[in-house]
Symmetry: C2
Subunit: 145 residues, 2 copies
């Protein structure tokens, strides 16, 4: 019998995260954290709220990751000059030095995930997984609505 | 720009697990636990080691889940008559009563993950995700070997 789809997705996602941890743990950068660091490097001064939106992650999870990134000296934050309740995030030099390493890692991951598959197959893969997400989302909307 | 594949896989897997938790938390059955319970129901007397192998999960993670399943009254264990170091696992009545609920849930998940996609698309999806796993595995073999 075929392995259930949810099981195979769980396993593969775990493998990917294991791969990322393997490379990032040495820098005290947990999963999610280097993604946020990369996000800030692309848009210095970005706010925590925008990052949470873009990465589709809960606010408290993002807040926790950012706290770690600041503690470990990768990011610093400054109060917004106009909206004094908002914080703007910036990369430190240590943070900036990580960016080429992160970009390289993103490239390796991309290759590991696409090697051996045609562009057409990856396109179908994306379409199927997006449908999955949408179906689950609609399910939750249905029971909440 | 397209969302990175690892990100979309992480998000969708998280959604699936959120869905499963939503249905299973009321029974104090965490992710992974009801899969193990289902495995035992299909083969009463199965050992912890075989479950870990079949589910491709670390031994300590499986041991932890089984401990919870026993504490919550879903499983019980007995010493193997021949190999006295090995334990055999069995479903309690409470465990057996969960099986139709679990089978129903597995069916719903399957529908949520395949609705809107053709059989051919799902086949390609499986092929691509299996290649991903294999690529990552080979990567780790390469750096360990």
């Amino acid at each position: 019998m075929d392995k259930p789809l949810d099981k195979i997705m769980n396993d593969t996602t775990r493998d990917i995260n294991k791969f990322l941890s393997h490379h990032m743990d040495q820098y005290s950068l947990g999963n999610g954290q280097f993604g946020i660091l990369y996000e800030v490097s692309k848009e210095e001064g970005i706010s925590q709220e925008v990052i949470a939106q873009r990465r589709n992650v809960g606010k408290s999870a993002v807040a926790k990751s950012i706290k770690r990134l600041i503690e470990n000296g990768y990011l610093y934050r400054e109060k917004d000059e106009i909206d004094r309740r908002a914080w703007r995030l910036y990369c430190t030099d240590k943070g900036k030095n990580m960016i080429p390493i992160i970009i390289n890692l993103i490239e390796i991951v991309k290759k590991l995930l696409t090697n051996g598959s045609s562009e057409e197959e990856i396109k179908i893969f994306r379409k199927v997984i997006e449908r999955m997400s949408q179906n689950i989302e609609e399910y939750f909307e249905g029971i909440e609505g």
